[in-house]
Homo-oligomer: 367 residues x 4
């Protein structure tokens, strides 16, 4: 294997054989910030990236509950990072040691049927969502990134790392799986069921298409308050009022043009399907653990379209342009910042979002 010699300096040299610290999964409910071996190149298309900033995803909490079957004891969690290239395999074309990159949650072989159609999340050539799932992830000092050319993006000038980090997963997820699958158009009325980080991301993305009204529905007042900050015109607390009646009143009895599900339980999916007007669209983003009931006895006549999806990150170049041109405010997702040694505390703050008000927490080498 041909390995470029790193250029010197304190952190990016002398990798091989050394150790690092990482957030390791040890079975349901058990995690530790502990010393492990540093990753090394496996395939010619790999890169090793030093992690400068990473974050915790709601999916990581699912992993810790034991809900993600590919995850095994001893594997490092995490699938989002901004970092610095430390080493590249012989076949890597588009990056050099020392380059700063965004590491995407989705890796892409670039050659399979799905990658050829920009559906990287469905990659059958060894990519897809593998980081912190099928292989070691980004909540570590270093991470091995497979198919590095197709799975990273250069850090643009003038963008804060923590803003850019929101493009590793959450913003393309809300935009692709919620907004684009939902086909949001100017003038639409859009309902977003669930105002957690993914729901807020969908609200941010929907606003790019100038809807006439965005309605956020959640049971937590703090989340609804956040939804207003992110651009919801109307918020409905479905603990306090009937969301279907409220939406029908807001839409002259018609229902919404697009309903985006951003929770992942049967009740919220069924609510989304009940909110949508004839010829409308329901875009599911939520991670579901059990089947839902689809009321085809009502929906079969209504010309509705229901979509599901894993993020593909085909929109990342677009979102990068929107971020650098100031059309997208990514930084406002970041509510709490930690150093790597505070990883366990960061998980705690993020897991207790209801109390702490956490949206996204970041962990950085330099804090």
């Amino acid at each position: 294997m041909r390995v470029q010699a790193a250029g010197g300096g304190d952190a990016v040299t002398d990798l091989l054989g050394f150790t690092m610290k990482a957030l390791v999964y040890h079975g349901p409910g058990v995690k530790a910030w502990e010393v492990v071996a540093r990753p090394t190149l496996v395939a010619d298309t790999d890169a090793i990236v030093r992690v400068d900033t990473t974050t915790i995803c709601g999916t990581d909490l699912h992993i810790l509950k034991g809900d993600v079957p590919a995850m095994v004891d001893g594997r490092i969690i995490g699938h989002e990072a901004v970092g610095t290239v430390a080493e590249v395999g012989a076949a890597v074309q588009n990056m050099a040691v020392g380059d700063r990159v965004l590491v995407s949650c989705v890796s892409a072989c670039g050659a399979c049927r799905f990658c050829r159609e920009s559906r990287y999340g469905q990659c059958t050539g060894g990519g897809g969502w593998i980081l912190g799932n099928e292989i070691d992830g980004t909540q570590a000092e270093y991470v091995r990134v497979p198919f590095a050319d197709n799975s990273t993006y250069p850090v643009p000038a003038g963008v804060a790392d923590e803003a850019l980090l929101m493009l590793a997963d959450i913003l393309p997820t809300g935009y692709e799986v919620g907004v684009l699958n939902g086909g949001v158009r100017p003038g639409d009325v859009v309902a977003v069921v669930g105002a957690g980080p993914i729901g807020l991301s969908a609200i941010s993305g929907a606003r790019l298409f100038s809807p006439s009204m965005v309605i956020a529905i959640d049971m937590a007042a703090t989340r609804l308050e956040a939804a207003k900050q992110f651009g919801a015109d109307v918020v409905i607390n479905n603990r306090e009022q009937d969301p279907i009646a409220a939406v029908l009143e807001l839409t002259g009895g018609l229902g919404v043009d697009v309903a985006i599900e951003a929770v992942g339980v049967p009740a919220t999916f069924e609510l989304a399907a009940d909110l949508v007007r004839p010829v409308g669209r329901v875009a599911n983003i939520g991670v579901h653990g059990e089947p839902v009931t689809l009321h085809l006895e009502r929906l079969w006549t209504r010309d509705v379209t229901i979509t599901t999806g894993l993020v593909d990150t085909y929109s990342t170049p677009t979102l990068l342009r929107l971020l650098t041109s100031g059309q997208l405010d990514a930084q406002r997702f970041v509510t709490h910042r930690f150093g790597f040694d505070d990883f366990i505390r960061a998980y705690d703050v993020f897991a207790r979002a209801g109390e702490t008000g956490a949206l996204k927490v970041t962990l950085s080498r330099d804090i």
Copy 2:
């Protein structure tokens, strides 16, 4: 009301105050071919059409079971006809007495939000599927057609009435709700679940896009035989073999690009959803009477699109061109032909399709 004077002749004159015969619904399980009042113009946009040929739809059997809530005792059944214009209201622009027309199953006000977007099936201005449902239908010697300009099509030269009649409902339904909603493209593998008349219509429509393989799935050998005649490349009897295993083997383990549901029970919808590949589409045509289970715990990651729909008949002009140019063989749907006085027998033959091999039965004035 201004009524054009009919031009003389035996059947099209002297309408007002006269009687006719019609197939009348008298509550669940009860129908009769009996004498009723002839229809008269109600709105300026109405036409009265003398029915020359009509047919029985699977939906009419549902009506007779009592499953269609808008249907009341005393109403005439039927929503498909080819006929001759007998009388037109003052505001009708595009037809004259004596013109021969196809009466579509969907009436369109032409001005509501949905009609403006060619979604006539969802008309909120008084149209939609109203014939033989909300108002008297076409299984009669005469029928009142509301919004006549937007709800009928001139009979093109050189086309047999019984072929044209297939464009009143069945062919646009299979084409719009199955094939176009399913997004069939050249080279696709398409599974059609259910090989009754609607499934066969979806097969006919799918073939227009040159799929690489059409797979028909049904439990009746006679229907699968018909499916082969209509263009299925492979047929699967799901009473005899596991259709999922068979389809995965045919598609290299991937699943089909498009699955079209043409039955209307939970098991067939769930089968369709199980057959589809990642990034594939499930198009529901079936009339469902109860909820189905949607396995979002498997589908949420698979980028699938599920559609429902009532026919809009926006494709009728296209299908007329295909019919007259010989690209579409509509006549092969017609397996049995009756005169109006044999209406009760025709229903019997159609209802026992499993034994009689009936696909579509026609009833004509001139037989």
Copy 3:
């Protein structure tokens, strides 16, 4: 003909046989605000609308030059109005005397092939752009509106007439023919060649899709100043600098995603075609009087799409929602306001827009 009796009051009663004042074309260069006969209903689908506010379009200046062949001596100019229904034909369904309506520049028969596909501007059933062109127009105290149900929109509550009037032509033209034909998407770089009212309308419409950069190109400093007000990020005076070099520098040598032509002379079309990147789109809005040169020797390899179009007004319902929800600022187009008796002066101010800074001038009954 059945005519609804008007409800009384000063202006809407006793129409038949009376006169009114109107802006009449009398051959190239000659117009007069003079007394003519009030219009009366001709077809059952007509309405007579009392004009409350109207405006002058750039096309009206073309008419006065003698450039529009359908226009004849004695015909009333104008195709934009907000008014009050004074009389309706027997077949008009959706409006009553006294209703306030937006009169669209495009009339639609609602039944022809093109109307069925929402392409009302191409109507072959007697509609299209006929007002102030093939029949008398809106620059008058009263106007006859053919196909009234399909050619007018109810005035929504809370919207100023002069803002709404911008939806009669200019805003749907910029949006449909420029922005939607151009396929503007979030993150795009959009160049608009020509910053007159139509170009500004295209800029307003493009902003609805959150482009990363809108570049306005014009030779008049005042228009470029207006372009900034309407949302251009960068303005280029192509009298002062090479617009192609400037755009290539702004886009890293690539060219723009979408170029919108809003002038109507060969040089500006050719400039638009030179600005666009591979796989980009050129949307022509300009009214052209002579052929242009298309450099296929360069463009044949570049995967470009070029569109032309007359406004169809299919987007009017969407724009109405955007107007009432505050997403669209229509009122800022109005720079000068006149009473009907100042019509000649209003034409003069509009024709000398370079000096007067006029964008849109309005003429109202109540001033």
Copy 4:
């Protein structure tokens, strides 16, 4: 560089340092089948392919006239081949020595903006149409294929090499640049201007969408005869009759839905633009050497769309499925077959297609 050892046998071993024969360009009008050095791997992503069958493209005749600026004295011509992998670079993932592959006319880096959007023909990462243009081509015993993983396709079982070879350029060009850019839909009337190999390819591709009528226009009776064989319903010799008048008569005065230009001179492009109906599409495939006149003074109101394009080969997987399923008859393009040593004669037969009736000529190692 890591080179897989070839598996033995006469032709695929001991490559390095050896010679081969190839068709070499030596300036305008001069070509020779002569001995040159065998190619060797340059980049890790290269493969060396032994050419089993190749063909001559119309573009190669342009090259020989000196019309293609990138072409230099001493370079091997040709961009289409079916062959056997002889050697692969270290980074090649998806093929091994001995595999049989289709070599596409377009190479794709797989990572640039355009490759990420499947627009491989516009690749800015070193790919695009480079074979036989910017680097040595396929009219040789061996060819170096850059970005081999993204630029070749495995030979499917049961397909003749000469049929498969038609998918290297001609069939995807007609399908993508003509049929898909033209947006052909079931029921459409499609005019193809020019019935040479590319025009015939467009006719083949259009038929996949079940048009109601395909009209071929050419000045050569033999080509029109071929057009009938390939599926044209009507042929027009525009030397003998006015094609515009003929098409208007065939379409009730409307014009065609889609006009495909497959010649590459101003007159044929202008004809295509004159044939198209309002809201229709003109798809240019022709290679143009000079500007054309676009009659915007007529077209600006007609809602037409004009497209250009270089083939991207994103449709190759689809066309492979259609070929193996028997939906596409590729073999009928091949009219003449030669051995490699007859290369000069093959060029002569192809260049005199008017006399020889040649569509595609193939050259094979084994003849």
